[in-house]
C-alpha cells in the first residue's frame, strides 16, 4: 500500500509537473475573478471564501480523469486487481495520492491567494483548516467518479457531471465556515459538519468505487 502511494506520488511528480498544474490552475481562477467582478476590495472580500473554495474544488477535478485511466490503459489496474491487496485499499490509496498532489498543496497556498482577494486575516486560518478537512472528501468522491468512468473513451466531461453534484455539501459547509470566520463569527458548526461528511465519505465511498472498478474490469 505504501509502495502504491509512493509510486503514485512519484508518477505525478515526474509526469508534467505534478503539483504544479493544479496550483497554476487555482492561481489563474483566483486571478481571473477580480477581472470578472471588478476590483472593489469590499466585494472581493465578501466573495473570497466562495471563490477560493470553488477554485480549489475545480483544481481538484482537473486531474481526476487520469486517476485510474492510465492504470487501466497500461494494464496495471488488471495486475493491481489480482495482487494480494483489497481493491478498496487501492482506491483509498490512490485517492490519498491524489490528495497529496492536489488537495494538500492547494490548502497550503490558499491563504496567499486569499490575500489577493482581500480575505480578512482572521479567516485565513479557517480557510486552511476547512480545506484541510474538506479536500480529502473531494479526492475520494472524485475517485468514485473516476472509477465509474474508467472504461469510457471520453469520460472526462461525464466525470465532472457525475462528481460535481456530489461536491455540493462539502462546498456549502466549507465555504460557509470560512465566511463565518471572515465575519468574525464562530465557525464550529459548519466545521464539524464538514468533518463528518469527510469521515463518512472516506468510510463508505471507497467500497462503491472498488465495486465500480471491478465491474469495469470484467
Amino acid at each position: 500500500m505504501i509502495g502504491l502511494l509512493k509510486r503514485d506520488v512519484m508518477l505525478a511528480m515526474r509526469a508534467g509537473g505534478g503539483f504544479g498544474l493544479a496550483l497554476a490552475f487555482f492561481l489563474i481562477v483566483v486571478v481571473l475573478v477580480p477581472f470578472g467582478v471588478g476590483p472593489e476590495r469590499e466585494v472581493l472580500a465578501r466573495i473570497a471564501p466562495g471563490v477560493l473554495w470553488l477554485g480549489a474544488l475545480l483544481a481538484c477535478l482537473l486531474s481526476l480523469d487520469r486517476l485510474f485511466a492510465t492504470d487501466y490503459e497500461d494494464g496495471s489496474l488488471d495486475l493491481l486487481a489480482t495482487a494480494p491487496v483489497p481493491l478498496e485499499g487501492v482506491v483509498l490509496t490512490k485517492a490519498l495520492a491524489h490528495w497529496i498532489t492536489t488537495g494538500l498543496p492547494l490548502t497550503i497556498v490558499a491563504p496567499l491567494l486569499g490575500a489577493l482577494l482581500n480575505l480578512p486575516g482572521e479567516a485565513a486560518g479557517a480557510l486552511v483548516l476547512t480545506l484541510l478537512v474538506g479536500t480529502p472528501a473531494l479526492s475520494v468522491l472524485g475517485a468514485f467518479g473516476a472509477a465509474l468512468t474508467v472504461g469510457l473513451k471520453r469520460g472526462g466531461l461525464l466525470l465532472s457531471l457525475l462528481v460535481l453534484p456530489l461536491y455540493v455539501p462539502t462546498l456549502i459547509f466549507g465555504a460557509d465556515a470560512v465566511r463565518r470566520a471572515s465575519d468574525g463569527l464562530t465557525a464550529t458548526t459548519p466545521m464539524l459538519l464538514l468533518g463528518l461528511i469527510t469521515l463518512g465519505t472516506v468510510a463508505i465511498v471507497p467500497f462503491a468505487a472498488a465495486g465500480a472498478l471491478r465491474v469495469n474490469l470484467r
Binding site: I2, G3, L4, K6, R7, M10, L11, R14, A15, D71, E73, D74, G75, S76, L77, D78, L79, L80, A81, T82, A83, P84, V85, L217, R218
Partner: protein
C-alpha cells in the same frame, strides 16, 4: 494422486454479452504446463481473465488456492517514467517479496536497471513484464501471449524460466502460438465453443 493446483469444472465464460466458451473442464497439477491454443477470438484471453478472477464465470466452478495466480496480460503495466528497478520494486513490494535482483538477472535486465522504462524497446518492456512474474512468488502463472515482441534468444530465456518454475513445483497456463519447447499438454480452446449459439445472461433472460 496429488490434488491439482487449479481445477476447472464445466466453466462457461462470456465476452461482450456473448457466451463464447462453455464446458471448460481441466486440472492443472504442480509441475505441469498447459498450452492454450485456438484461433483469434476463440476466448483464450477471456478464459485467462476468468481464471485470474478478473471476471466471474457465467457458470461452473474454478477451484484454486486463494491468491496463487499471477496473471500477465498483453499490457505489461509498466510506468514509463519509472526506471526498470522502480517498476519491479513496486510490484515486489505489493506482493511482499524481497529481492528483485534475481528477477532482473533471469531476464537479462540487470544492465538496464536504472534506465527509464520509456526508453526501453518493446522486447525489453516485455521482458520486464515477465520478470514481474518472478517477484509475485505465486505458483500458477497465467500468461497471455507472453512471447509477443521477444527475439529468439529471449524466447528461449523465457522457456528456460518456465521450466525452472515448473521444476520448483509451480504450474503454468500459457496462451501462445509458438512452440516453446516445453513438455506440455495442449488444450484447444475452440473445442469449447458453444454448440448452440447463446448470448450472455443479460440477454438470455429476455429470450
Amino acid at each position: 494422486m496429488t490434488t491439482p493446483l487449479l481445477s476447472l469444472t464445466d466453466v462457461a465464460c462470456t465476452r461482450g454479452g456473448l457466451r463464447i466458451l462453455e464446458g471448460v473442464t481441466f486440472d492443472l497439477l504442480a509441475g505441469e504446463a498447459l498450452i492454450l491454443r485456438g484461433p483469434n477470438g476463440s476466448g483464450k484471453t477471456t478464459l485467462l481473465r476468468t481464471i485470474a478472477g478478473l471476471q466471474p464465470p457465467e457458470s461452473g466452478t474454478i477451484a484454486a488456492e486463494p491468491e496463487c495466480i499471477a496473471y500477465a496480460a498483453h499490457a505489461d503495466g509498466i510506468k514509463s517514467t519509472l526506471s526498470v528497478a522502480e517498476n519491479l520494486e513496486f510490484w515486489a513490494g505489493l506482493f511482499g517479496t524481497a529481492s528483485i535482483d534475481e528477477a532482473l538477472a533471469a531476464f537479462d535486465l540487470a544492465a538496464l536497471r536504472s534506465r527509464r522504462a520509456q526508453s526501453l524497446s518493446a522486447g525489453q518492456k516485455r521482458r520486464l513484464g515477465l520478470a514481474r512474474l518472478l517477484v509475485t512468488g505465486r505458483r500458477i502463472w497465467a500468461l497471455d501471449e507472453p512471447t509477443v515482441s521477444l527475439d529468439q534468444s529471449a524466447v528461449s530465456l523465457f522457456a528456460e524460466r518456465v521450466r525452472r518454475h515448473l521444476d520448483d513445483g509451480g504450474a503454468a497456463l500459457v496462451a501462445t502460438h509458438i512452440d516453446l519447447g516445453l513438455d506440455a499438454r495442449t488444450l484447444d480452446v475452440s473445442e469449447f465453443k458453444p454448440a448452440r449459439v447463446a448470448t450472455g445472461a443479460f440477454d438470455e433472460s429476455f429470450l
